[in-house]
């Protein structure tokens, strides 16, 4: 797998600290929702830094999208969120990963559980479901600190309205929006019970977020009776 040269063709802010980058990658092969790419940056003195980012959108020719959360004190993400300009090159390697993927021909119900920017590969699945006209029931439980930290808010609202069989529930850990029922809390058993699928339906579950979040959620799910092999996880560490 080799590095390809890509360039930024469009971008949009997702939150005050995150933005989506649309990259054009000549020769890009197809990818599956859930896969990721490695992005490599080179400084004028030859210094390089590479990071992995989940693809945020399904196949669209030679265009790919990633949504990047700025990590305080990070090395790469602050540049990608605030400094990287349209037309400028980066190097991209991918697509990577064949485990944490959803294929439109799958038929079982799907539960997606996201912590923070872990929503990105799950959004790619939601978008791919729409693009493929799949009717497989999807549920997303999305844990964020505050409403301002939530990615894709408008689009998710629209998709819940337009995409039959898609449900989305937010859980707020620090501060909830006005009118939200309940107190801010960490995602727990009640949330998974209320907004997830019972194990009897044999759903496939995808959990993505920081390592501690994924650990806690997969323990909850397995405790509820979901077989470990049906709980697929993608953890990301503190690299920035």
């Amino acid at each position: 797998m080799s590095w390809r040269q890509a360039r930024l063709v469009a971008h949009r802010a997702e939150t005050p600290t995150a933005r989506t980058l649309v990259l054009e990658v000549p020769g890009w092969p197809a990818h599956l929702p859930g896969q990721h790419v490695d992005i490599r940056l080179t400084a004028p003195d030859g210094y390089q830094a590479a990071r992995s980012y989940s693809l945020a959108a399904p196949v669209d020719g030679e265009r790919i999208e990633v949504s990047v959360q700025r990590v305080t004190d990070g090395e790469v993400s602050p540049f990608l969120v605030d400094g990287y300009r349209e037309g400028d090159p980066v190097e991209v390697r991918g697509p990577i990963g064949g485990w944490f993927v959803w294929r439109p021909q799958q038929t079982e119900p799907v539960l997606l559980v996201a912590g923070g920017s872990g929503v990105v590969p799950l959004m790619a699945m939601i978008r791919a479901r729409r693009a493929a006209g799949s009717r497989v029931p999807f549920r997303l439980i999305y844990s964020v600190r505050t409403p301002d930290d939530a990615f894709y808010t408008e689009e998710l609202r629209r998709r819940v309205r337009d995409d039959a069989g898609l449900d989305v529930a937010h859980v707020y850990t620090r501060q909830a929006p006005d009118g939200w029922r309940g107190e801010p809390h960490r995602l727990g058993l009640a949330d998974v019970n209320t907004h997830g699928w019972p194990p009897e339906l044999e759903p496939l579950v995808y959990v993505c977020g920081p390592t501690g979040f994924v650990e806690a959620v997969s323990d909850l799910l397995v405790g509820l009776g979901h077989p470990a092999r049906r709980v697929r996880t993608e953890r990301f560490g503190p690299t920035g």
């Binding site: 940056l41 080179t42 400084a43 390089q48 830094a49 090395e75 540049f79 990287y84 090159p89 980066v90």
Partner: protein, 199 residues
Amino acid sequence: MGIVTPGFQGRPRAEAPDLPPGQYLTPDFPVLSAGPTPRVPRDTWEFVISSETGTEYRWSWDEMMALPQETPTVDIHCVTRWSKLGTTWRGVSLDTLLDGVDTAADYALAHSYGGYSTNLPLEDLRDGQAWLVHTYDGDDLPAEHGGPARLLVPHLYFWKSAKWVRGIHLTVEDTPGFWETAGYHDYGDPWREQRYQGD
């Protein structure tokens, strides 16, 4: 070299005349770990030097703390290319620990709580070049940096300064450690840029 992305600088880094080749300065103290961080209570901690004949020399935490203490200020160089200058530690010189150890061995294999190991020539642990340290910058050495106690061998790349060190096997033959069996250099002199085997 890859395609330069305009505006990207990366971590602040400077090449200083007192840095080994290929290293950059960091103001941070990055945490590197190849596994879960062991939590070793001091009341069960022990340090064991075992000679090539099987004789063992043991120190409990209190016994180690009762030995003469030194406060070295040294530069450290990580093979992942960061260097940190003027770090201050406190601990026991390996000269003190090796004093009275009867050995004809040429090599040492340091081994740690959690399973890590690293090898180095025994002579590199002598003559004021190495310490068993328990304090960094005036405070107890945090577990993520190798506490309660780690090896400090600052003239070699920092992977030789085993975190959570538990003991040292003295051996007649060189026995490669955790990273040395996976491609890293047996000796690891930063000034000769001995990063990988064959460098």
